[in-house]
Symmetry: C2
Subunit: 343 residues, 2 copies
């Protein structure tokens, strides 16, 4: 019966809570990259041969080469990520290979991190966490802009570049901080929908949810959140021109993809004070981010190692969903989150 | 006419936006500590002589010695802080010296910081902000407990030691993170008030606001916020016994006074994993906090330099209120926030 087993290749060990879903399945022949590091390309191409399913991380390119190496038995590629800029969707479609990903399950974790980074940028934790033991207290030491509204500064506006699930979950968290205004940029292919905006404003109990052009968003926002997909359409959408229009008291948060923000322009902006601070979880060119990277050296800039979804609950949920997508694809059944069919 | 001027002593320069309120008043003789550091005691005692008003920071002890040095003309002491553990209220009362402080105005700034520290503790920013360039990504690297609720972990409980204005403002911010349960410890001198609790739960749209004993709060909370006043009644209220009862996935936040938390016990708890992480803005014995302090060396512990109210908007508001309290007291008029009369 061993011949009838279906081969699946798994590019990362997903731990003792999730791997048994694969390893204990008698219909599967499971091949797992054996190291705690990114899967080597050579190993992946060799082991993909004859596979019915491949489970990848963001680090594995899913392209013609890999699909050719796997051959005609391949039915599904399942990625443990909500983004899929590492996958050639056209090549998958041409071959009839299904593709699974992990939307929704990480929404709250990334929204949490987005709020945290907005707070950390304003409170300048890059310096304040390192203040002990040598600093002199004074009435205005360490003071930056306050995220919350105050009686003397009552208006707070959040600006979202991209306004999907994560952006909306982030805004929901900002409402009790006094954010009554929500601006966002929309996909150029779709028309503005004032009725939907009004419905959202009512849902959140705020004065305004409104689609605007990028320039107005830059000018009006106290906190700008970059939450659009990566890829050519959004490359360096936050550039020098955008940053020069921001309020001097505003903060910029990027928890989507590094390519959306021009790192050199942001570093220059922070050095020259065009905006107050930045909190970024993603950097163009990561993981090649050395201590001499302009954003690591920039003042009032917090740089995290892409941990948006890194909580126990969420990563467990992502890993489980990734495996269930793989199983659904391999056995020709429904996949819980298949790209193109799920919403 | 110079003889009729009233002397006021100001222990810190409050900057160009606020000092003119004093310096431009022709009825005042204003003496200002001339350095950007804590006011020296010797200077204060000498200059206090004959003063009608003294404006102090948390760093200045307001005791018999200072009141005696000032003498019988003293009408008011005004502190730029919401806390007043540095002031001998009985000695002030005995002499009929009024006392001003700065409640309310810093509520939102400290609530912001409390939420930030809960997030930073759970996301272990002590390590994650220092991760570049040397770390290995893996599916569960950097993972800790998620502040937000998730479908597989839907219950979140916030616990407040002290449930005044700042605690309630902090809880309001946590509601969209999925916190449906709010526990708090009350002042032993007051009776529980279930009707008031139910009204608060309705206001926040949550399942539960409930006064509990300290042990239950320790056991049930996913995030514990220490927000009670300092002083003997709350000294080391968070001790080894409390910490041993906390959830291993919980975080502790202290944004009130360092004396409420036993630093050695907290460091031990973090090393041994009794709780997940801690975010503290105040440390017993501050500002004597060296790099060998047990909490600076403890894992998953963020230690900030007492910046709860340190935003431009709030410190400006506090400084203005402190000056207005001083003016009201010196001229025998209403003080905007006088202890004992304001709420």
């Amino acid at each position: 019966m061993s011949d009838s087993k279906l081969k699946v290749v798994v590019c990362r060990d997903l731990g003792p809570d999730v791997m048994p879903l694969l390893l204990n399945n008698p219909r599967l022949d499971v091949v797992v990259w054996p190291h705690n590091s990114a899967c080597e390309r050579k190993w992946l191409l060799e082991n993909a041969r004859g596979a019915s399913g491949i489970l990848v991380m963001l680090s594995e390119k899913v392209d013609e080469e890999l699909l050719n190496a796997a051959g005609p038995k391949l039915r599904v590629v399942s990625t443990m990520s909500v983004g899929y800029e590492h996958a050639d969707l056209k090549a998958l479609l041409t071959r009839g290979v299904r593709f699974g990903y992990t939307p929704d399950v990480l929404t709250d974790a990334v929204a949490d991190l987005s709020v945290m980074l907005a707070l950390m940028a304003g409170r300048n934790t890059k310096e304040t966490t390192e203040a002990w033991p040598n600093f002199v207290w004074s009435p205005f030491a360490f003071c930056g802009p306050q995220l919350s509204s105050t009686p003397t500064s009552p208006k707070r506006t959040a600006g979202f570049i991209g306004f999907g699930r994560i952006a909306q979950a982030t805004f929901a968290r900002l409402v009790p901080f006094g954010f009554q205004h929500c601006l966002y940029t929309g996909n150029a292919k779709t028309a503005p929908d004032p009725a939907a905006d009004a419905a959202l404003a009512a849902k959140y109990g705020v004065k305004e949810v409104r689609r605007v052009e990028l320039d107005e968003l830059a000018r009006e926002s106290d906190a700008v959140f970059v939450l659009a997909p990566g890829g050519p359409a959004t490359y360096h959408i936050v550039d020098e021109q955008f940053l020069r229009q921001m309020k001097k008291t505003a903060v910029l948060v990027n928890t989507s993809r590094g390519t959306l923000v021009d790192s050199d322009a942001l570093a220059k902006a922070l050095h020259e004070g065009w905006l107050y601070g930045a909190g970024i979880d993603v950097v163009e060119g990561e993981p090649q981010v050395g201590l001499d990277h302009p954003l690591i050296k920039a003042p009032r800039c917090v740089v995290l190692p892409h941990i948006g979804s890194a909580t126990n609950e969420t990563r467990l949920g992502m890993a489980t969903l990734t495996v269930n997508n793989l199983l659904g694809g391999v056995f020709g059944e429904e996949m819980p989150a298949e790209l193109g069919t799920s919403r």
